[in-house]
């Protein structure tokens, strides 16, 4: 037997309703897929962004705040780390490098972050263009920064605020190795000398300056003796100012855990970004599980409602099925025809929903990446396929119900 031509003709008979049912299934599935794929994209993107920040040491307080301000460059007020702790960190034999991180300035909406050249190199994995900064007034920009190598920029204090004043005087003072007159708000011009490789982090939009620039611009000296104009380590232990955070690259795993334990003191805290993210993901995961459950329940209800609608639609075609019976169609033929009819709507709707959901997640990921700087790519994974398979399986199983209802209709009554 070949019930496909009849099923196809039945679908064409109420094509508008069929397409409507298909779209409803597609939208229900797309919602679940989008939530699931987006949540995973967010999780993977944020985890990847924190990858190169091996161990963060900061003043005691919220790990979340430090993580968000250091890794995701989210402007958050954090306590400054005692310079005595920074001094100890710079003397650590178990660290490959110690990178002070300073922030609080911006050019337009792009954050200006102070650090040391080895961390830029570590984060970027080599530059895409130009060179690392070698002078206090030089900067390296992130891969997505609109500023070109060779551009001169004026930094403003705070995020997206007004530009600084008396910038040239501050620059002269810094060049001379003196404390910047006027302190906070005096930001000399900087010249962009290099562009980082894409990192998939908000650092891709950042303007990265030597930490000395950051300190000097805030009237905190340069971390070196006044006559010392070099940038980067070693710093003068007595000239070190406080820092929002220090990123440490431990020599190995044992060193990482050792350093983490050593700097969890009343004066400082140390944490792996992953441990903070795991807590956040657990929270996010719970929310996602609840949303996924609700979505699946909504999808099941949608399928059940559609099946009820299909029974009504097919009931209008009962005469057609009765005629087929009169022509000799077996009940199995009628059952299979109706089952194919329902399955075609559910399966096509689910597949369309998969594509639609993936597309929606892709668009949302793109928008989120643009607003946060965290690279996100929505992908269809086993969880989404399992979600669709569950719904399709449920649909195919429930399709038996209208098939049973229709094939049991009395033939002669429908023929009269």
């Amino acid at each position: 037997m070949n019930p496909f031509p009849i099923a196809w003709a039945s679908l064409r008979r109420n094509s508008f309703t069929g397409v409507l049912f298909l779209l409803i299934v597609a939208l229900a599935v797309a919602l679940g897929i989008a939530i699931s794929a987006q949540e995973r994209a967010l999780r993977i993107g944020s985890a990847r962004a924190a990858d190169k920040f091996d161990l963060i040491v900061a003043a005691p307080g919220s790990h979340n705040d430090v993580l968000f301000s250091t890794v995701y460059l989210d402007p958050t007020a954090v306590e400054l780390l005692d310079p005595a702790i920074t001094r100890l960190l710079f003397e650590e034999a178990e660290a490959d490098f110690v990178a002070p991180i300073g922030f609080g300035d911006a050019i337009g909406s792009d954050p200006v972050v102070g650090t040391v050249a080895p961390f830029v190199d570590h984060l970027s994995g080599g530059l895409a263009e130009g060179r690392l900064f070698e002078d206090i007034n030089e900067a390296v920009v992130g891969a997505l920064s609109p500023h070109a190598v060779g551009n001169e920029l004026e930094v403003s204090h705070g995020h997206g605020g007004a530009t600084g004043t008396d910038a040239d005087a501050a620059a002269d003072a810094i060049e001379a190795g003196e404390a910047v007159p006027g302190g906070d708000g005096d930001h000399p011009h900087i010249t962009i000398v290099g562009r980082m490789q894409p990192t998939g982090t908000p650092w891709d939009r950042a303007i990265v300056v030597p930490i000395e620039y950051n300190w000097a611009a805030h009237g905190l000296g340069t971390g070196h003796l006044p006559q010392d104009t070099h940038i980067g380590a070693p710093f003068d232990p007595d000239a070190l100012p406080g820092l929002p955070a220090v990123v440490v690259k431990p020599k190995d795993v044992a060193a990482a855990y050792g350093l983490r334990a050593a700097y969890r003191t009343p004066q400082s805290t140390a944490f792996f970004p992953a441990e903070v993210l795991v807590e956040l993901y657990a929270l996010l995961g719970d929310a996602t599980a609840i949303m996924s459950g609700l979505t699946l329940a909504a999808q099941a209800l949608v399928v059940a409602a559609i099946l009820a609608g299909i029974v009504a639609i097919l009931d209008l075609q009962r005469q057609r099925f009765a005629v087929l019976r009169a022509l000799g169609a077996s009940p199995l033929f009628i059952f299979t025809t109706v089952w194919i009819y329902v399955a075609a709507i559910v399966v096509t709707g689910a597949l369309a929903g998969l594509v639609l959901g993936w597309g929606a997640a892709w668009v949302v990921s793109d928008l989120l990446a643009q607003s946060t700087g965290v690279a996100m790519r929505a992908e269809i994974g086993a969880r989404e396929l399992s979600l669709v398979s569950t719904l399709v399986g449920l649909g195919l199983l429930l399709a038996v119900v209208p098939a049973l209802i229709i094939y049991r209709r009395p033939v002669v009554d429908a023929l009269r």
Binding site: M1, N2, R320, R325, L327, G328, P331, V411, V412
Partner: protein, 222 residues
């Protein structure tokens, strides 16, 4: 395809305690056209459905060439109908979303996955019945043409018996005459057994045998 002889005896069907069919005997010879007539509600369509195995009697036998279809289970009656019978209805009951050719192939799909082997025969039938096979939908055909597609569909499985329920009732006089002539030809020339439930006097004139029913009982011919 030679037709099959029918022998009915003691046929009874009751509904809500009242007999709707009570037919002690009926014999139909192959190669003949038998007309079941009577007023509305007389039981002619019910008898047609009994003879075709769509309804099962409460008592009696319906023996087509010795096969008592009253004793067959549902699936065997379905198979018997697929093999031996073709059906024509008053309102044609074609599948509007299909072409004339595909409508004719429907009975083939009830049995086989591929209808390719029967495509030539279906086209020949449509040509013989003067129906344009190339139309994309039967809905675009005239009512007379649609009934002829329905006849071609009934013949596509090359059945021995043709059951027709008011085949001319919704046609104009000319189209009705054409259909009546075709049915007569199917009996006389092809040798099939044709059983028609109808009000149409033109069909009664062409019939080899006429059975007048009143409340499910055979009435003497006027």
């Amino acid at each position: 395809m030679p037709g099959l002889p029918l022998a009915v005896s003691g046929l009874r069907l009751a509904f809500a305690g009242a007999d709707v069919i009570d037919l002690p005997s009926l014999a139909i010879a192959p190669g003949t056209m038998t007309v079941l007539s009577g007023a509305s509600g007389s039981g002619k369509s019910t008898l047609l459905y009994l003879l075709s195995g769509l309804l099962r009697p409460d008592a009696g036998s319906i023996a087509w060439a010795g096969t008592d279809i009253a004793l067959l289970g549902e699936s065997r009656r379905d198979r018997w109908r697929r093999k031996e019978a073709g059906f024509i209805f008053q309102n044609f009951h074609l599948i509007e979303e299909m072409s004339p050719l595909d409508n004719v192939l429907v009975p083939i799909w009830l049995d086989s996955f591929s209808a390719n082997a029967k495509r030539r025969r279906a086209l020949d039938l449509l040509r013989q019945l003067d129906v344009p096979a190339e139309r994309d939908s039967v809905a675009k055909l005239s009512r007379g043409q649609q009934q002829r597609v329905a006849i071609a569909r009934a013949l596509s499985g090359n059945p021995s018996i043709i059951f027709a329920d008011e085949p001319t009732a919704s046609l104009d006089a000319a189209a009705g005459e054409t259909v009546a002539a075709i049915l007569q030809r199917l009996a006389r020339e092809d040798g099939r057994t044709v059983v028609v439930a109808t009000h149409d006097p033109a069909l009664k004139v062409l019939a080899d045998q006429s059975l007048l029913l009143d409340h499910g009982k055979r009435e003497p011919a006027p």
